[in-house]
Every structure is written in structure tokens, then in C-alpha cells.
């Protein structure tokens, strides 16, 4: 029986520095296991009982979301201060990125530890949690930090940039490298009468994709065609698409190496697209597999544009409705499916009838005849749509900026396929 636990007992003894005998540990462990305490928890509680710290030494690549009492030696790749409200108490916290030879992970320190950029420190008692599906090292009140770490291991000093395709909503302390495609400066007045301020809205691109950014600081280098490396940015969704935010905490530098931003829109399969939290300017091709009810003629509130029923807006009450036309459909390319929403103008492009014609049709025939006619003209057809994708709690949807039926030479493609497979000369 004891054999089963031998490795765990050895591990506990190691953590306690041979203070406690093997048989005592085994007895405790067996008892806890009998009570169906999970093994990891049992080990931790025994170590604690006998006064061990139970810290586990790991490298950053070995971290898992439930690590407790962690011991790491790392370099502070970036750090910034922030004032937050923790249960009604103002607190100054630190956040940034830690790195060692194996990887880099964002961290948050709940106390104002003395940490500076490029410090190499030993940290004991840290814990890990998942924050917005990203691993994050947490330094709590009981955490010990030592600046004297003896022999400093070779530590990769560079912060690795995140590919724009991998940027997810709510990430923070991120480093990105990209080419500025657009930058518009705009003067806005601050909320609390704090005067005016120039912000820059634009688009950043790398080889994996494009994203919108907002810079809250003026920096002359943020101008089209410049390749920038921007450290310590944070991400917020804007209309469902992740948007990079550049604040005072960010540091901008010109990037030496040349990068080739994607040319035009990103062509991708729907399954690839669904891995993202959102994307700017993508093209997908697929078959319309469903035209949803709520397509066709709709009525909107004149004040807020919400779709309304019985001329009553749920915010503005009784209103004089504005008639509009749209398509809510699902397209599927055999790898996945996504909701595709078409405006009145794009509905007209695909369906071939104007809003006025739709209104005529509805008054002459049944009110749902427009929806039915749209369904008959689109279901099963192969279409290409270009637009922005957002992937929120209601699922993924593409708001199209342009759309068309696929027009390709099927004969040419058939010949190409047969040639590719080397079977074109067989009868």
C-alpha cells in the first residue's frame, strides 16, 4: 500500500527538508486520501501542517492555471503602476511582463513591490490564475521577492510580440509589432471637463492580420507606413472587434526589421476565423445554409435604430418607425459556420430588389413574402463576404461591407483539380 505513495512521500519530505519521518507522512497522507481529499491538496496540507513553505520551483513554460506557492527566477521585462479600487479601498498595483529563458507571462502585483524594468529577481509564494483565458502570475501580500539571486541564469531579455491574429479582447501588457496603415488625429473633450486632448485612431497590420488601435497619447511616429514596436498596450473590444489601446504606460519604438503586412483583406476559412475574438477586414466564402427569421423588412426606432415590434421601442416607447431591410443568415464553408448580417444596401445587391420594391411586394402579397423571397434567392448559394468579424456571447458574426455571389469558371477549376491530381489524361 505504501509503495503507491512513495514518490509523493518523498516529495513531501523534500519540501520539509527531512524534518519529519516517512512513516508519519505516510500515515497522514493515507488518512487524507481515505477521506477522498485530492492528492495535490493532501500534499499541500501536510507540508503546511509541518511548517514547510511547500513552494514549487518552476520555469515559466511549466506554469499551469492552478499553481500555488510558486518559486520562480525571472526578469522584469516591463512594469507599470496602476491605481485600482479593491473592494472600496484604493490600492496601487503593478502589472507587467515576466520572462525567463523558457517564456514570458504577464504578472500582476497586488502590492507596490520594488520592481523595475530589467531587474532579475527571485520570487517565492506567487500564484497563477487564468485571467481572460491567459495565464497570469499573481504576487500577493505574502509573496517574498529577493533581488540577490546569485548566479543569474541567461534570461531572454526581449519581450516577444504577440501576432495580431492572436490578440484577444481584454489582454493587457501586450507587445505588438506592426505597420501603421491608417492614422487619424482627432481632438476630443475629456469627460470630466479636463480640457481637450488629441487621440489617434487607426489601423495596425502584421502578416497575420489587421487591428484597429486608439492611441491616447500623441506620438509623431504613429503615422502611416511606419513600422512600430509598441510595448505594454491593452486590448478592449470596440463593436466586438479587439482594439489595441495605447496609453501613457506604453512605450513606442521604431522597429528595425521590415515586416510585410497582409495585403488587402485576409482570406480565411471560417474555422480559422472562429479561433479569433474578432477580426478586421476579412473575406470568407461559403454557402448560405439558413436565412433567419427577422430578415426582410424590419422597423427601427428613429432615435436608437433598435429593431422594434408594433411601433414600440423598448427604450423610447411609442415611436414613428423607420422602415429598413436586412438579411440575417448563416454561411457555412464546410469547416464551420458564421452569422452573416447584410445591411439594406447589401441585401439589395444580392437579392436584386430595392427597399421600395420590397415594401410594394409586402403590401401586395403577404407581409412575410419579402423574407420568403429572400430565402428562395439565397439558400444554398455560394457567396463571398468581406467585413469585420466579432465573436461575442451571441456567437460569431460577420458584418459585411461588401458581398457578392461567387463567380468562377468551374470548368477551368475542374481541369486544374484533375491536373493537380495527375488524373487528367484518364478517360
Amino acid at each position: 500500500m505504501g509503495d503507491r505513495y512513495a514518490p509523493h512521500v518523498a516529495e513531501i519530505r523534500m519540501a520539509l527538508g527531512d524534518k519529519v519521518g516517512e512513516s508519519v507522512i505516510l500515515e497522514d497522507l493515507e488518512k487524507l486520501v481515505k477521506y477522498r481529499v485530492p492528492l495535490e491538496e493532501a500534499k499541500r496540507s501536510i507540508i503546511k501542517k509541518y511548517g514547510g513553505t511547500g513552494s514549487v520551483r518552476k520555469s515559466l513554460s511549466e506554469l499551469t492555471p492552478n499553481d500555488r506557492m510558486l518559486e520562480i527566477t525571472v526578469k522584469i521585462l516591463s512594469v507599470s503602476k496602476r491605481d485600482v479600487d479593491v473592494r472600496g479601498v484604493k490600492r496601487r498595483i503593478l502589472s507587467g511582463i515576466l520572462g525567463d529563458g523558457t517564456g514570458q507571462v504577464p504578472f500582476i502585483a497586488w502590492r507596490e513591490f520594488d520592481l523595475k524594468k530589467n531587474d532579475v529577481v527571485g520570487i517565492k509564494g506567487a500564484y497563477v490564475r487564468l485571467w481572460q483565458s491567459q495565464l497570469q502570475v499573481n504576487l500577493g501580500d505574502r509573496c517574498e521577492i529577493t533581488k540577490d539571486v546569485g548566479e543569474i541564469p541567461e534570461i531572454d531579455a526581449e519581450i516577444l510580440p504577440t501576432r495580431l491574429a492572436d490578440v484577444k479582447a481584454h489582454m493587457s501588457n501586450l507587445c505588438v509589432v506592426g505597420v501603421v496603415l491608417e492614422a487619424r488625429r482627432e481632438v476630443v473633450s475629456m469627460k470630466d471637463g479636463d480640457g481637450e486632448r488629441t487621440i489617434i485612431d487607426g489601423v495596425l497590420a502584421d502578416e497575420s492580420g489587421k487591428l484597429r488601435f486608439t492611441s491616447w497619447i500623441e506620438d509623431e511616429r504613429i503615422t502611416p507606413r511606419k513600422t512600430l514596436r509598441i510595448e505594454n498596450v491593452y486590448v478592449k473590444p470596440f463593436r466586438g472587434v479587439p482594439t489595441i489601446n495605447i496609453s501613457e504606460e506604453a512605450s513606442i519604438s521604431l522597429h528595425e526589421e521590415e515586416i510585410t503586412p497582409i495585403d488587402g483583406a485576409l482570406h480565411c476559412s471560417i474555422s480559422e476565423l472562429l479561433k479569433r475574438d474578432g477580426a478586421l477586414d476579412v473575406i470568407v466564402e461559403g454557402n448560405v445554409v439558413s436565412v433567419r427569421s427577422g430578415s426582410g423588412l424590419i422597423r427601427r426606432c428613429p432615435d436608437c435604430s433598435r429593431v422594434i415590434q408594433n411601433n414600440t421601442c423598448r427604450v423610447h416607447g411609442k415611436v414613428a418607425p423607420v422602415t429598413d431591410m436586412r438579411v440575417k443568415s448563416v454561411i457555412d464553408d464546410g469547416t464551420g459556420s458564421i452569422m452573416l448580417v447584410l445591411s439594406s444596401e447589401l441585401t439589395e445587391t444580392l437579392w436584386g430588389h430595392t427597399l421600395r420594391e420590397a415594401e410594394e411586394m409586402a403590401s401586395k402579397r403577404a407581409p412575410d413574402s419579402v423574407e420568403r423571397d429572400i430565402r428562395e434567392s439565397l439558400t444554398g448559394k455560394r457567396i463571398t463576404a468581406r467585413g469585420n468579424m466579432n465573436n461575442g456571447e451571441y456567437g460569431a458574426s460577420l458584418v459585411a461591407e461588401s458581398v457578392s455571389f461567387v463567380k468562377r469558371d468551374v470548368r477551368e477549376e475542374a481541369i486544374k483539380l484533375l491536373k493537380e491530381r495527375g488524373v487528367h489524361e484518364n478517360a
Binding site: E393, V410, A414
Partner: protein
Amino acid sequence: MLDRETAWRIFASEFNRSDLIERGEEKQAPHYLITPTGARCNRVFVVGVITESENIGRENDLWRARVADPTGTFTIYAGQYQSEAGIFISKAEIPSFVAVIGKARTYERGDGEIQRSIRPEELNTVDEYTRDLWILDTARKTLERIDSMRIGIKARIESEKLAEYLQSQKITRELSHGISRALKHYSEIEECLKRLEEEVYRAVRTILSEEEMTALRGEAIEEVIEPKEYVANVMEMLDTGNGVHYSDLTEAVSQAKITPETLETIIKELMSEGRCYEPTIGVLRIV
């Protein structure tokens, strides 16, 4: 939000060869049909020709239709809960091109024989062009699955670990799972894949007219009338400045039915004529 099941593109001949069913443990769990190429499908998308329709219901309407693609026929059943689809089938012009989006259903007869059908969610009349696009799309996706199956066969890895291996070969998680199940279940799989592959090519050829097929065959024959000149041309085409690897050349000319032995003879001839040389072993350059 629950993920919507993807609509798989599968030819009728493959669909009708499928007899591996996967049901979830829970009551409402979806039901999947795993095909011989590892497509694990709950929903399918088909474009074909409706060739028959009949109401076979007794008390309630039960419409049955047959929809043909170039490889075989799908059976479609629309019962009382698919009344829109039933109306569509009852009014459909025969023959005409139709698009079907629906759920793959199976039914086990008394003698153990499995019947497959589609329960339609959407039915619509489409044009010939949409049908041709579907054939091309389905052909590409089926060939991709056949190739992936062959990677799975070649790997000779036990089925528990196969899915993981296939994912490391850039095959999607869904297909990897389907392939590991299909390989365990279907017997004589290699012959089956070979037949399916042939059927895919036949389906693609139906897009082409007789003249186009003749032209295609002619073109292919013309290419190898002068094997030596053909090889020299390919060598020149493949050379982007650093010469051509022998293996790349072998592969390129194999499509013109030039065997590695013939190729070796031709290269020797070209060398003796001083038209090409071998700067490093295994690399060739045209003079």
C-alpha cells in the same frame, strides 16, 4: 452559445457506404455518422438533382425524395415536423437542381441493414452553376479527407494516439477524431478509399463537356510526345536559381507518366549532349 454543427460536403456514394454511428451518452446529445473518410457529420449540405418524390405517409404526411449527385443518390424524408420541406418536395419540379441542408439520419432495419437518409432543414431550388460549384467543393474536401486518411494508415499508430498524431500533421481536430474512429471500424479501407477517389474524379469530369475532355486528354498526350524536351523544359521551369533537386524533378515528371527509370536515361542523354550538369550530387542545372 452552442456551436452550430458544420455542414459537411459528402458525395452520395460515400454517404451511403457509411455505417459507423456515434451517439452521445446524454439524451439530447447529437448523433453523428462517421463516413469511411472520417467525416464525422451531424449536418450535411448537398446540391443535386431531385429525381423522385412521393408521399409515403399513412395518417400523417411523410414525403420522400431522391436527390442524385454524379456518384449516387441521397434519400430525403420530410415528416410532419418538416412541413415546409414537405411542401417544397410536393411542389418540386422533377428533374430540377435542389440544395439540401439537413441532418444525417440512420435507421436500422430488422435485418441489421442500416438505411441512411437526410432530414431536411432547408430545401431550395438552385441553378446548374451552384451544383457544379458544389461538386468542386465536395471533390476538394473529399480528396483532402482521403489524403488525411492515408496519412493515418501510413502512421501505423494505435487508435488512441492516432488523433493526436494527425493533429500534429495539421489535420483539424474534428477530422483527426473522425479518422481514428473510421480506421478502427471500416474494413478493407484502402480499396474503399481508392474507389471513392475514382468516383470523385468521375464526378469532377461531369462538369466538363466531351470536347473539353478530349482536349484535356490531347494536351496530356502532346506533352509527352518528346519526353526529352519535356524533361528539359520542366528542369528549366523548376530552376529558380539554385538548380533542381532530383527528387522534385522525379515528382514533377511523374504526372506526365515518365517513370524514374526513363527519367534517369533521359538525364544521362541530356548530360552527354552537354545540355545539363550536376553541380552538386542530387542537384541538376540546365546549361
